[in-house]
């Protein structure tokens, strides 16, 4: 009896140990393997992250470089969790919040063997914040608060700001702020456009023009054990059907930007548990921008009517089945602590819970403004997801208050041109930012005199004042109140622009891809150091 139960106990113990070991093994990253992923673009225009703004550059080239600080790769959906990459610890700002002192990690080497020092970090940031003549830095305007950046000694970098602001640290975590070698930048500031040489987890292996980019493990990477992958292959494919088929046929494991619901449904239906889907709200969205310089859109009543006619609360769930949109929210990213609550939103035009009342009010305003049955053209970009779907939906919504709208779809070049020259009635606009940084992200709503990418054609001194005060406020509660005031002013009182449901990121991947976590931005967390293959 005892012997039997003894054996049973031993068997149970062995079983327990084995299960625990198995579970532990499932969580321990495996080394080895090559990750093949799709990049939903044609080739990047150049390899220089300081210069480019397209995700094609970041998906293809980020694995080769290090940055100073970044969003925590193990918690990338957080909008406040920033950690060090090349620094040793996150500094507390001194001097009334105007000085940030970073200590740089020791023992980091560039791929050519030379050591990386604070001088390289300072030189790279100098190129971003204050590029020399003839060199373009796409993010120069995000760092107007920076007065000076310098390397005080080989292990220390100091940033001095003109004024204290909460917008600095998130801006510093920009995924394009790659650290280049000072020696190369001094000799030829354009070198990095066509060449790759960084200190990141992967070394550059090869690039086939317009086709694929390959990297191999950096054996001297400063994070022990990482990267887990032997290498990666990034294949460029602008066509969605190809990317979906590739994942389906296991020619590629994942596409990091995001696929529409139909692709997800198809992959899940075909492959069942061989596919894992991660989803997240996206720090991108479409907006509707009426051209204030064209009658009758200079009349705030007409603009308000446009907003009031739209039923986002019911439209979003329907659209989310076919388009990459999902969450209804105000001007702040829905996951951010600065975002409006549902109750706060419902006060604003376009978010009223009773659509009947909302549309009635819209009709009343149109009549009052003498714009009943108004006919106009909605300009849109020739991209399916989600631009054209949103455009078609908007036209349908506006028809419900008697507005007759046609759509004019333009390819990217002429679209931007028309935006810049204001040759449109109303346009579908967009706002896409890399790191969730609400204070900088809402700059899109500011008039053109302050923010170059605003195409509404209006000027509004009060709005600018509201924003400047908001930017400099460091007390969290006061900031909340101020941003609500700004939001109300922009979306309701003046209705300068109209929100549509925020984009939604859907990333289906082969289940053997582990370690990569989705985030609100398709630009961040792409250095692939913590990705491993479970096969």
């Amino acid at each position: 009896m005892i012997r039997k139960s003894g054996w049973a106990a031993a068997g149970l113990a062995v079983f327990c140990v084995a299960t625990m070991a198995a579970t532990a093994a499932a969580e321990t990253p495996k080394r080895g393997g090559t990750l093949t992923f799709m990049i939903p673009a044609d080739a990047p225009p150049s390899f220089d992250g300081h210069r480019e703004t397209t995700f094609a550059t970041v998906h293809a080239v980020a694995p080769f470089y290090s940055v100073l600080i970044r969003v925590n790769p193990d918690n990338p959906s957080s909008t406040t969790d920033f950690v060090c990459d090349l620094c040793t610890e996150m500094p507390q700002p001194t001097d009334g919040g105007k000085t940030y002192t970073f200590k740089i990690r020791q023992g980091v080497k560039f791929h050519d063997g030379t050591p990386l020092t604070a001088a390289d970090v300072a030189a790279s940031w100098q190129a971003i914040v204050r590029p020399p003549d003839g060199v373009s830095s796409a993010r120069e305007s995000y760092f107007i608060m920076v007065d000076q950046v310098e390397a005080t000694d080989p292990t220390t970098v100091v940033f001095r700001l003109k004024f204290a602001t909460n917008a600095f640290l998130p801006a510093l975590a920009d995924p394009y702020a790659w650290i280049y070698k000072k020696e190369i930048l001094d000799k030829d500031p354009h070198w990095y456009e066509k060449n790759i040489m960084g200190s990141g987890p992967f070394k550059f292996a090869s690039y086939d023009i317009g086709q694929s980019i390959k990297g191999v493990r950096n054996p001297d990477y400063y994070r022990p054990g990482q990267p887990y992958l032997d290498g990666f292959i990034g294949i460029f494919a602008a066509k969605q059907a190809v990317r979906v088929d590739a994942i389906r046929a296991d020619r590629a494991a994942i596409e990091f930007r995001g696929l529409p619901p139909s692709a997800r449904d198809e992959l899940v239906r075909e492959l069942g548990d061989k596919i894992t889907v991660q989803t997240s709200d996206w720090n991108c969205g479409n907006l509707v921008t009426p051209n204030h310089k064209k009658k009758p859109f200079d009349d705030v009543r007409v603009r308000r009517a446009l907003a009031l006619a739209i039923d986002s609360w019911h439209g979003a769930p329907a659209l989310s089945k076919i388009a990459t949109v999902h969450t209804v929210a105000g001007i702040v990213f829905p996951g951010s602590p600065l975002a409006a609550s549902k109750q706060e939103l419902e006060q604003l035009a376009g978010f009223w819970p009773d659509i009947g009342k909302s549309r009635e009010e819209a009709r009343r305003l149109l009549k009052e403004a003498g714009a009943e049955g108004l006919k106009f053209e909605l300009m849109n970009r020739n991209v399916d997801q989600p631009y054209k779907y949103v455009g078609t939906w908007l036209i349908d919504e506006w028809s419900k208050v008697g507005l007759q709208v046609t759509q004019r779809v333009l390819p990217t070049g002429p679209f931007f041109d028309a935006l810049r020259h204001g040759t449109f009635d109303v346009t579908v606009d967009f706002n896409c930012q890399s790191v969730v940084n609400p204070l900088l992200d809402i700059g899109k709503f500011l008039p053109h005199s302050v923010y170059a990418e605003n195409y509404g054609g209006y000027d509004d001194q009060k709005e600018i004042e509201l924003y400047q005060a908001l930017l400099r406020e460091t007390d969290a509660t006061k900031q909340q109140a101020m941003i609500r005031e700004f939001e109300r002013y922009v979306l309701d009182t003046q209705t300068h622009m109209i929100m549509t449901p925020w984009w939604y990121r859907i990333v289906p991947a082969r289940s053997y891809v582990k370690g990569w976590k989705i985030s609100p931005s398709h630009y961040i967390n792409q250095d692939l150091a913590n990705v491993w293959l479970d096969k």
């Binding site: 692709a263 659209l319 076919i322 020739n382 078609t392 939906w393 759509q407 779809v409 002429p414």
Partner: protein, 301 residues
């Protein structure tokens, strides 16, 4: 002055009746001799009826979205299913026939007539005009249609009319070339010189002598052009350079959504393509049969 006009004229009513009777007999003979051509004619007629009577045939509006009925398979409610916006595919195809016919005939007529005028003028006047026109034709024919189309669309904007412009331009030199070679043969004939010697004006000679004799190849080319124009519009719309949403057009229906939903809702891709193929097929068959019927050399041995 003796009238040396030799062009065929319908002079009397009696002759007219004779002609109409022989037209009917001609059609019947055509159907019996050219079975393929008859099939083509039928296809063309079906398309024409669909396009002209679209409002009566189509059960739904081609542009109304119905988010509750997205990508539904063919059923009694929706004969060809619905697309990703919930729009009825059958209605869109029927209205698409109207767009295709409009584009096809506009391009064929515009391109054909311009080509006819230029080709005949080039052949008749010869010399430097001919040389210059030939070079211009070379450039236009060699120039890729895609660039031309994108430029036209980008400069003038999208929409059906600008697509017609974009497609017509490459058709003109093709027509002009063929017309020119036919007209050159006529020009060598002695009665042209005789007519000039009698002091007849250029216009009269061109219109009365040269044009009627190039009519046969010209008409056949027109039917071919309609088919080519429909195909060209489809290709341009597929590349995003053609007709724009929400206009129902077959090529546009094959763009975007069709490929995205190819595995889950194949009817979105199958039916528009079938419509294009069948219409161009019909026009080609008919055009071929027309040529066979009119060309004495290719008659049965």
């Amino acid at each position: 002055m003796v009238d040396l006009d030799l062009a065929p004229y319908v002079a009397t009513a009696a002759e007219a009746t004779e002609r109409s009777r022989s037209w009917r007999a001609g059609i019947i003979r055509f159907c019996r001799r050219q079975p393929l051509g008859t099939v083509g004619l039928v296809l063309v007629l079906v398309m024409a009826v669909a396009g002209l009577l679209a409002e009566w045939i189509a059960p739904y509006s081609p542009t109304s979205n119905d988010f509750a009925a997205m990508t539904e398979p063919p059923s009694w409610a929706h004969l060809m299913g619905t697309d990703q916006f919930g729009r009825d595919l059958f209605s869109r195809i029927v209205f698409g026939a109207r767009t295709a016919l409009f584009v096809g005939f506009s391009c064929a007529l515009l391109g054909g007539i311009t080509g006819l005028v230029l080709g005949v003028a080039s052949a008749y006047f010869g010399g430097r005009l001919d040389l210059l026109l030939q070079r211009v034709f070379d450039v236009v024919m060699a120039f890729p249609l895609i660039i031309l189309a994108l430029a036209v669309i980008a400069i003038l904007g999208g929409g059906v009319h600008n697509v017609i412009v974009a497609i017509t331009i490459p058709l003109i030199p093709r027509c002009a070339r063929v017309v020119r070679s036919s007209a050159l043969a006529i020009r060598e004939m002695p009665y042209i010189d005789a007519a000039r010697a009698c002091g007849f004006g250029h216009t009269r000679i061109i219109l009365r002598h040269m044009v009627p004799n190039v009519m046969a190849p010209f008409l056949i080319m027109l039917t071919a052009f309609v088919g080519q124009a429909i195909l060209a519009e489809a290709s341009l719309s597929y590349l995003g350079l053609g007709v724009q949403e929400p206009t129902p057009a077959w090529g546009l229906m094959l763009q975007g959504g069709a490929e995205e939903f190819a595995s889950t809702a194949p009817w979105i891709a199958v039916f528009p393509g079938l419509a294009i193929a069948l219409s161009v097929f019909g026009f080609s068959l008919f055009g071929d049969a027309l040529r066979d019927a009119m060309d004495p050399k290719l008659r049965e041995r």
